[in-house]
Symmetry: C2
Subunit: 98 residues, 2 copies
């Protein structure tokens, strides 16, 4: 079920309380967006592998761009053309595993 902009903003506040450092999740252009920074490429890829378990479990896929030690993540629910609880569930797992 699609979340309203108000619901998204509320959930973002909670999600970003889990944030380490100054780089919060943002709601931009209809997507949840965040760039994760790691010490090395190896750590970035290990994190992607850890997250993959939940991607499979939720059957919900991010758009994610890896450049060396960074991963830029964009989440949305394409079938619903917006943000659903699935996006926040996956964002939360990403956050916890980082």
């Amino acid at each position: 079920m699609l979340l309203t902009t108000e619901q998204i903003e509320q959930k973002l506040v909670l999600l970003n309380q889990l944030s380490v450092g100054n780089n919060p999740w943002q709601f931009l252009q209809g997507q949840l967006i965040k760039t994760f920074h790691f010490a090395t490429f190896d750590e970035a890829l290990s994190w992607m592998n850890d997250v993959a378990i939940y991607i499979e479990k939720f059957d919900h896929h991010p758009e994610w761009l890896n450049i060396y030690n960074k991963v830029e993540v964009k989440l949305m629910t394409h079938q619903e053309k917006g943000i659903t609880h699935l996006d926040f569930d996956l964002a939360q797992k990403m956050q916890k595993l980082a």
Copy 2:
């Protein structure tokens, strides 16, 4: 050492002889670009892990975007601001592992 456009075009022909299907590597906007398609997300990620061994070995990193079963790859040598043998070495490994 930077490759000339002529050298790049020659090497692309050889590289694309390894190509399976109709989706060749292209030289666009100063980068070597290709989108790899896999059956599943799981296969896409497995391939990224296989390629990672050579990324570490060559100490040469792609810009790669994963969306579900696709991986869009962009290669260039940032230190040299162009294409070097490292880009073709990594492209060839990607090709062979796909």
